[in-house]
Amino acid sequence: MYAQMVQSTGKGLQDRKEMSPEDQAFQDRIDRGEKIEPKDYMPDAYRKTLIRQIGQHAHSEIVGQLPEGNWITRAPTLERKANLLAKVQDEAGHGLYLYCAAETLGVSRDELVEMLHSERMKYSSIFNYPTLTWADMGAVGWLVDGAAIMNQVPLQRTSYGPYARAMVRICKEESFHQRQGYHIMIKMAKEGTADQKRMAQDALNRFWYPALMMFGPSDKESVHSAQSMAWKIKINTNDELRQKFVDETVPQAEFLGLTIPDENLRWNDETGHYEFSEPDWSEFFEVISGNGPCNVERLNARRKAWDDGAWVREAMLAHARKSQKRAQAAE
């Protein structure tokens, strides 16, 4: 999940009796399955929660370019390089769709970027892990994009129109990401040399638990989830999505001849699901609060890109203003 632990009101689900008539009418619209559009009435808490969620999602797409961008210049073939470039370019595009969706809620893109750079907004914990070998490009596409799709497909039905529409575009494009990753894994794990198989297994070992963490901690007791689900800006619980991800991914690993690094993993005939070990949540909380292996590097890379690009943004704006003045003078 690209948006983890998004805070809503912090008060749990609001009782209908406590709602103003406007808020009741708003909730009725959502219950009827109507989409909320930018100029429609919405409770302040809905707006704020959505800005946090969509903003975090957008930041994840942007920061998510970095671990893969790391390998563009070292892709093993020209074809792989072109694939990876296209994927990273897509991530930039997805970030832009989402920033625009957030902007319809009354926040500017510059404000969102500033909040990321000053660490007042988060991005997904997964991008704070390093990508050490080429096999990591396979594991990231297969597992990280796979987990992201799991979360994003239901969000196409989210109650906020601009967010839902952005998710439709993103889902359409994201499927290629997962497949190109799995394709890399097939080449290495099934058709590769002993060393390449070892690299593929190592990548799976390192990315398995961080991928499970992407869905966020169990939300059985979360006060935020209930409200977000009532607003239909969260469709499934974190645990539901994590289970679905494990159920789909285990057979894919088996096909590759790779072993999921979990001794407790077993199929349960009664439930029809796999049983699996929870990730180490203390590691998750460390990473999300800034102490993961690459947090500092990622944020510094974003800040540097922003600062180094400042002259371009300013020059383009100055040029546009000058041409506009000239055009007006000529009229």
């Binding site: 296209a86 625009c100 546009a320």
Partner: protein
């Protein structure tokens, strides 16, 4: 809450195929119209989605307000006689 030095917001419309009308696909930031077209090409047509792009500055769009929904659209609701199915034509007349 727009920052003074932020590139303005543009709405993007794409004609998917010849013969179709332009359709709103999303928005983006750009310094001017020409720049907006270039960005739209990169952001919204990476997979051959269009044959033509329109961009318009978001601030220049006038939109109806949600509270006008009733006065604007309700009067059309009870005018079923504007639809062909309102009129029964005997079967022997054939297709009309």
């Amino acid at each position: 809450m727009t920052h003074e030095n932020e590139w303005p917001l543009w709405e993007v419309f794409i004609r998917g195929q010849h013969g179709m009308s332009h359709r709103h696909v999303g928005s983006l930031h750009a310094a001017d119209a020409e720049h907006a077209i270039r960005n739209a090409r990169d952001v919204y047509t990476r997979r051959n989605e269009g044959v033509s792009i329109w961009v318009v500055e978001a601030a220049k769009i006038t939109a109806s307000s949600p509270s006008d929904k009733g006065p604007l659209f309700d009067p059309a609701r009870d005018k079923v006689y504007r639809h062909p199915t309102f009129y029964d034509i005997p079967e022997e007349v054939g297709k009309m």
